[in-house]
């Protein structure tokens, strides 16, 4: 039962965060790239304001999987690294905590370019 609740919370919160993006797509003329940037920077800002951490505790992957969660990891990484290394930590923490995601995207992206060819949209 507890596990089921975990999934329901992740599903609902993740879906709602995506709907905020859908609102921006349908109601504004913002390009996709701008929406993605807006989401990451909002994630960083909300984490700094202490709003996003409770959401992550509540919804788990529902809050970490959307791009705002990427911003959350960046900001949390920077704050934790400042605790550990002082000022220089601000330059270390964000990238360190998100390294796996970024590296995976770059490496798998490159492998994709070797393996696959572009397809025409139907």
């Amino acid at each position: 039962m507890q596990t089921a609740m975990l999934f329901i919370r992740a599903f609902v919160v993740g879906g709602l965060i995506c709907d905020v993006g859908q609102l921006l797509i349908m109601r504004t003329k913002l390009t996709n790239a701008r929406i993605l940037v807006l989401f990451v920077v909002s994630g960083v800002a909300l984490t700094a304001l202490g709003v996003y951490k409770p959401l992550v505790d509540f919804a788990g992957a529902g809050a970490t999987v959307p791009l705002t969660g990427f911003g959350y990891s960046l900001a949390m990484g920077a704050i934790e690294a400042v605790n550990r290394y002082g000022l220089i930590g601000a330059f270390v923490g964000g990238i360190t905590r998100t390294a796996a995601g970024i590296t995976a995207a770059v490496v798998f992206g490159l492998i994709n370019a070797l393996v696959f060819k572009p397809h025409a949209k139907p």
Binding site: I25, K29, N32, P118, H119, A120, K121, P122
Partner: protein, 337 residues
């Protein structure tokens, strides 16, 4: 009289359309006009290494197809006039390289085919050319990566966006000949810009230019819209066509809705989910060379005004938040009986 009014050429020696050919891609080949096209491709890539080379090959095949029908060797062609949507119109110029014809490269975005007809006919009528191959092409995959996004990117298109047609058309004009169709007049439009900045909404950007060109043509020639069996715009899409009808109504220009068709809105059915319809240089070229000219030859239509329209923006101008100017050219095609 080789000129009427401010903007219109009246050809003293109206060139004959000796032959015409059309090629479309697989998706276009599932649309309502499929049976009218000479060739429907099964493979977008035409066994080439890149989309750009595929588009070039499509142009080459289309021009050769038209020459074959007219039984004219390619060495006898005195000029190829054409263009496409690629930067520096590489599809047309690379095709011209292979074909070895004297080449006049044109750019009018989606209006290029009408532009080629207007200029080619003037050169023939003036005695500078005996014949000319007028062509225009577009390819969904080359246009998409240049103007919008990579093909595999998961983006949603807004309802006003159009789909660039994979298509090419070629009309071979000759000074002499018994062919029934003639290009009798051509109108050169002005660039009109009513400050539409949404580069997805090309129909809205171009409709005022199309209206201006049609109004100029009718004023210059002293005709009315009902003197034409069909006025074929390309490519406003169905939203742009509605806008054009509104513009005509507001200006008091009588435009019978049943005689106004749009090539982009006709190429695809609504079920094909192309939103506003087809666009791209090749759309109006293939629809004119396939559907319209064949219907004229069958005697169903005897006077058609082909109005090609172009959205004259580039990725640079739209990233710099400039508006999208429109242009249109009109070519009057008549059946000689």
């Amino acid at each position: 009289m080789s000129r009427a009014g401010q903007q219109t050429f009246v050809y003293d020696r109206p060139p004959a359309i000796a032959a015409h050919a059309s090629i479309v891609g697989p998706k276009e080949g599932q649309g309502p006009l499929a049976e009218w096209f000479d060739t429907v491709l099964e493979d977008d890539l035409l066994s080439q290494k890149s989309w750009e080379l595929a588009e070039m090959e499509m142009v080459r095949r289309c021009v050769l197809d038209a020459l074959n029908k007219a039984q004219l060797p390619s060495e006898a062609v005195q000029a190829m006039l054409g263009g496409d949507l690629n930067n520096q119109i590489i599809a047309s110029s690379f095709a011209a390289r292979t074909l070895g014809m004297p080449f006049i490269g044109l750019y009018g975005a989606c209006s290029t085919f009408a532009q080629a007809l207007v200029i080619g006919s003037a050169l023939i009528s003036g005695g500078y050319l005996e014949n000319a191959a007028c062509t225009a092409s577009s390819h969904f995959c080359t246009a998409e990566r240049q103007f919008r996004f990579p093909l595999e990117l998961g983006t949603q298109r807004p309802p006003q966006a159009s789909r660039t047609a994979t298509a090419c058309g070629c009309a071979l004009l000759t000074a002499e000949g018994e062919a029934p169709l003639r290009v009798t007049q051509g109108t050169v439009g002005r660039i009109i810009d009513l400050n539409i900045t949404d580069a997805n909404h090309m129909g809205a950007a171009m409709a005022p230019a199309v209206f201006d060109c049609i109004a100029a043509h009718l004023a210059d020639t002293g005709r009315s819209a009902s003197d034409y069996d069909l006025i074929a715009t390309g490519d406003l899409g169905w939203i742009g066509r509605n806008l054009l009808l509104e513009l005509c109504a507001a200006a008091g220009l009588d435009m019978p809705a049943d005689r106004l068709i749009d090539c982009g809105a006709s190429l695809f059915s609504r079920e094909q989910d192309t939103h506003a319809g087809g666009s791209g240089c090749g759309c109006v070229a293939a629809v004119s060379c396939g559907w319209l000219m064949k219907r004229m030859e069958q005697g169903e239509l005897s006077r058609v005004l082909v109005v090609g329209s172009g959205a004259m923006f580039s990725p640079t101008s739209s990233q710099q938040a400039q508006s999208v100017p429109g242009i249109a050219y009109a070519a009057c095609i008549e059946r000689k009986d």
